[in-house]
């Protein structure tokens, strides 16, 4: 039986894993390669590295870092941030990443999805999507709207419709981040996660809002999501990979040992 996946997200700035903390801005918490290798040893199923300043600085993602990760981490990992075109995708994949994650770029230029899927295979292309509840309207029938550029720009696109369109264009996986839940530590946004997970036939990763292991068990018992993304709950030592996994197991979720 296919296990549900626990994924750790590492935001990277200047080769340091960083995390936004309320009222304090970003604080650096460690080396991406060392942290990735440690989480892998602890039994996490997958890793995501986001080069969070690449887009703003209009430079490609840090390829040397990706190569370094690939020499030390032997579980699947994806890389996002600073992907501007097909050549950037190729560089990331050849450097050893399993998948490449695109977000704003895909909304502004959906053709990059089909081009990427054709060149490298659907399984390599992850769509990152930021969605926010704005109320049901004719334009936004699900009530959830797609935002880009880190949640700063509303696109007038319905989140469920965008997920279906992206799937039809060839994405292999969708990582859905709820802007409303992100940073609250009050649990994932289960409504939109389940709606999208049921609307598409590619795996859906839930992101934003995880604060305690029960949130992850809840996600899997109440929605059709395939994977859970966590960050601060493990970065600051509040919980461990095995602690979260044992909570998942206790809730009857299929988990990799």
């Amino acid at each position: 039986m296919l296990s549900k996946r626990l994924i750790i997200c590492l935001d990277v700035r200047n080769r340091k894993v960083t995390k936004g903390v309320k009222f304090k801005g970003n604080i650096d918490i460690g080396d991406p390669v060392e942290m990735g290798a440690r989480y892998s040893d602890e039994g996490v199923d997958e890793l995501v590295f986001y080069d969070i300043t690449a887009s703003a600085e209009n430079r490609p993602c840090d390829i040397e870092m990706v190569k370094d990760i690939a020499r030390h981490v032997f579980i699947p990992f994806s890389v996002g941030g600073g992907i501007r075109h097909l050549d950037d995708m190729r560089a990331v994949l050849l450097a050893g990443a399993e998948k490449v994650s695109i977000n704003s770029l895909a909304v502004l230029n959906p053709k990059i999805i089909s081009d990427g899927a054709k060149a490298f295979g659907n399984q390599c292309i992850v769509l990152g999507m930021d969605a926010k509840f704005v109320g049901v309207s004719e334009k936004i029938p699900s009530g959830y709207e797609v935002y880009i550029q880190g949640g700063r720009r509303a696109m007038g696109i319905d989140a469920v419709q965008w997920a279906i369109q992206a799937q039809d264009l060839g994405v292999g996986e969708i990582c859905l981040n709820s802007i409303d839940a992100d940073g609250t530590k009050e649990g994932y946004e289960l409504t939109i996660t389940d709606r999208i997970a049921k609307a598409v036939h590619v795996p859906v990763i839930a992101s934003g809002g995880a604060g305690v292991p029960e949130h992850i068990s809840d996600l899997f018992s109440k929605t059709s999501a395939d994977a859970a993304l966590v960050a601060s709950m493990v970065h600051f030592g509040d919980y461990t990979v095995q602690g979260i996994k044992s909570a998942m197991r206790d809730a009857g979720v299929a988990v990799r040992k």
Partner: protein, 205 residues
């Protein structure tokens, strides 16, 4: 000891396989030279992507024949993912393509079933049907990492383990004599994947 040759035919996971061997301090060399491959003492045959395009590259640069030579010489050969499918007689992918024919069988697609996502991607349990030296020390039922839409189908006597996805149980370790192949990705399966690579490096047929 002579290095393990990792066969380079443009497969996407080549670097990951090489990185894993380097991490384990196992002597390895990447090669696309047919003569060098044919005279290797041990080879790993990696792969991701589609069987059709992989076969085309293999034939064009004469590597397919070199791999066959190593198998016929009785030297250890390990196939991974597409490398596990290309050793068979044929693949149903891309409308049907003849493959190397080093092991009787073919690669078939998962059957569609409601709610079943294809490709089969993620961690799934490997259940032994027979012992094999490369799996020594790995507990039965361990999770390995998969990404694939096709899987091998061979005679039971040539299968060593199976995995269940949806309602379908498929063979995930196949081989015969000095030839062994895994459908799952050893280079992405964490410490147990590395252990299998280590076992292969010390396997004497």
């Amino acid at each position: 000891m002579n290095p393990i040759i990792v066969v380079d035919y443009g497969a996407g996971n080549l670097t990951s396989v090489f990185n894993a061997l380097s991490f384990l301090n196992i002597q390895a060399k990447v090669s696309r030279n047919p003569e060098e491959i044919a005279s290797a003492e041990k080879i790993i045959f990696p792969g991701v992507g589609a069987a059709g395009s992989a076969m085309q590259v293999l034939t064009n640069i004469g590597i397919g024949e070199a791999v066959s030579t190593v198998v016929k010489k009785g030297r250890p050969v390990l196939g991974i993912c597409i490398g596990c499918q290309i050793i068979l007689d044929s693949s149903d992918e891309d409308g049907g393509v003849p493959t190397l024919g080093l092991l009787h069988g073919k690669a078939v697609r998962f059957k569609d079933e409601p709610g079943l996502k294809i490709p089969h991607m993620g961690w799934n349990q490997v259940i032994y049907t027979k012992e094999h030296p490369i799996m020594k020390g790995i507990p039965d039922g361990s999770d390995f990492y998969y990404v694939h839409s096709y899987h091998p189908l061979v005679a039971n006597e040539n299968a060593f383990a199976e995995t269940t996805y949806g309602s379908q149980t498929f063979q995930c370790i196949v081989g015969k004599d000095n030839l062994i192949a895994t459908q799952f990705h050893l280079e992405k399966s964490g410490s147990i994947g590395l252990q299998v690579l280590k076992n292969f490096s010390s396997w004497n047929v």
